[in-house]
Subunit: 366 residues, 2 copies
DNA sequence: TTGTACGCGTTATCAC
DNA sequence: GTGATAACGCGTACAA
């Protein structure tokens, strides 16, 4: 560990002072060109590498950000982490990853550790409202950017998707297809994502005059989907469409329905949410609300960078515009619907066009 | 950033020296119990947090490991990263994540950065043999643990799956079902995983007397699967079974075949590799070779920990035993096979039993 | 048992 | 343009 060559060695070997060596390499200022060349050459020859720990010690900044996610193995968070890491790298930042295991106490501990590591900022996909105390505390030491999920009490930057808009896109699409009865299968109200998707579903389906069945509520995982399929089948007649809160739920629903001999979209339409890589590959390919994670990551990192430059900045919120991707799981009119059901849709409302490119719309405020 | 309370503050407030405060908190030795209580209390009240950068500076160890993967968004690597992170956490280590974007130059840079960050060890899922120079260089500064993929020239610890065994399990399973003709769709020989799977396929299928079609070679991704399906269809008659090198390839194959009106397992059997979370959820559920990532991660971390304790240790290799998971994608005998084809299988060979729990078998040497 | 003082490797400040 | 030196916050050898 200590066998590495340090600046001191380079300086001695190059016959200059340690200060000159530092300046020559940092490309800072006031060093004669030939000294620079010489020192650089010596450094290269000796295989010198800065000790960024020492540099951080001196500079008071680590050029490292932390990121806490509920569970990295979830493809959605994996993609998100990948996007954030890539974006950070453009700014010459490193990423310290922490998996909270979907546990609030773990989350609190991991946040604390990140502060101890002196990260310059933390991206957090928080668990639920119980995360508030820990986040609030940590926020006093280091800038926080909430990603995907936001906690009401927390006055920190936030970047996520416009959940309401996504749900609205799905419901309008279904209504246009002639669906009359719909059911929601999603997560509970513990975090902002589940909450806003559920509320949007209630509001928009009412606006569209759809017949709403009792929702099946659980988590954003496959099991919730399979369980929901069981519940729906027990109730007897299936609704025209099942609107789910995540692609994983949709996979669970479809797989379980198929086990029971029901086909999608033949017997019932199903939609997902998130638009992960598997959604287009599934059978049937899934109609879903795609989240432009690249945009979300870019904006989240931008928020942090701007805050580092200007710490006094007021907290900002951004909700990125989602994109509806129409695929086979909602192909064709629902089986039992009257052909004129589509008349219930207000034609004046622009809705969304499947092929339209997603542009990250910015919403400021708060 | 500098507004945080430091040890000095705690010491002053507690009315003791900085050394005593340090000892009291580190729980080291030789401190009166009541001093410990007092200092601890003051620290808590002031909200003191150690500066682990400073501690690392002093201790010469960061308690941080780096991990370089080709692409974190790939569910397989995501799960692997998650498992490693969790395992590291048990040892009070943090994880610095680096995505090499499947690019050798990026990989080299990221490895270097990790060294500069003074990580105590690096887990690397290397790109291919071109990664050798960078890894070799970096290895002189910090312990390396190769995970999943191994580079021949590199004399570092390695933990991965027993690729040959996995392929053998699949082929015996297919042979037992009566498959006579098989084709491989997998990645090229650039990295050890693709290489050993392909070689094992050749060897074992010959041993089993299977009729082998010209393989379709690409990468471990979905596109390779779709493309392969096209190739197979163009060739005319499908083989009895398609053996793929990854679940993603299998998804691609199945989806494309279905587009063309062919069914799995009705028209052809298909197997995957990796056993990721989606494999059981797909339609049809995928027969696949499951990699116990928990075991792999645990052993990889163990390797590092042991090496940190005892740097002189000779490099070790471990190949973890995979587990065949039989599902519907290979349900039933292949359509065109003679019923007695299964006789080609040597019944004395233990093969693998679907329900058998995977135990991480250790192989040492090198 | 506790306190003093030094060093970890780097960079910035101040003299020359 | 270059060199000497202080400082970042902590842990510990040594002294008391």
């Amino acid at each position: 560990m200590g066998q590495d060559v340090k600046l001191d060695d380079v300086a001695r070997e190059a016959g200059v002072s340690i200060a000159t060596a530092s300046r020559a390499l940092s490309g800072a200022s006031r060093v004669s060109p030939e000294t620079v060349r010489h020192v650089t050459e010596v450094a290269r020859r000796l295989g010198y590498r800065v000790d960024k720990i020492a540099r951080a010690m001196r500079a008071g900044t680590t050029r490292t950000a932390g990121m806490v996610v509920p569970i990295i193995a979830n493809p959605f968070f994996a993609e998100l982490v990948g996007a954030v890491e890539g974006e950070l790298h453009k700014h010459d930042f490193e990423l310290l990853l922490a998996d909270s295991q979907a546990d609030v106490e773990q989350e609190a501990k991991r946040l604390n550790t990140l502060v101890e590591r002196r990260v310059d900022g933390i991206f957090v996909v928080s668990q639920d409202s119980r995360s508030a105390t820990a986040v609030e505390l940590v926020q006093r030491s280091v800038p926080i950017v909430q990603v995907d999920r936001s906690i009401a009490r927390i006055d920190a930057d936030f970047v996520g998707i416009d959940n309401e808009m996504g749900v609205a896109m799905v419901l309008r699409h279904l209504a246009e297809l002639g669906a009359r009865s719909v059911v929601l299968v999603s997560a509970d109200d513990a975090n902002s994502v589940g909450r806003s998707r559920r509320r949007a579903f209630q509001r928009v389906s009412a606006e569209l005059g759809l017949s709403v069945r009792e929702p099946v509520i659980g988590a954003f995982d496959v099991d919730t989907g399979s369980r929901a399929a069981g519940v729906l089948l027990e109730r007897g007649e299936l609704p025209d469409a099942v609107v789910t809160g995540s692609d994983l739920i949709a996979f669970g629903v479809i797989a379980a329905l198929r086990e029971a001999g029901r086909e999608v979209p033949g017997d019932v339409l199903v939609t997902g949410y998130d638009g992960n890589a598997m959604s287009g590959l599934y059978s049937p390919p899934l109609t879903t609300v795609h989240q432009p994670l690249g945009v979300i990551a870019r904006e989240a990192v931008m928020f942090l960078m701007e805050r580092l430059k200007e710490p006094g900045l007021p907290p900002r919120r951004m909700e990125v515009r989602p994109e509806l991707i129409v695929r086979r799981s909602t192909d064709g009119a629902p089986p039992r619907s009257a052909p004129d059901a589509a008349a219930a849709v207000d034609p004046a409302r622009p809705g969304c066009h499947p092929g339209a490119p997603a542009s990250g719309g910015r919403t400021r405020g708060r």
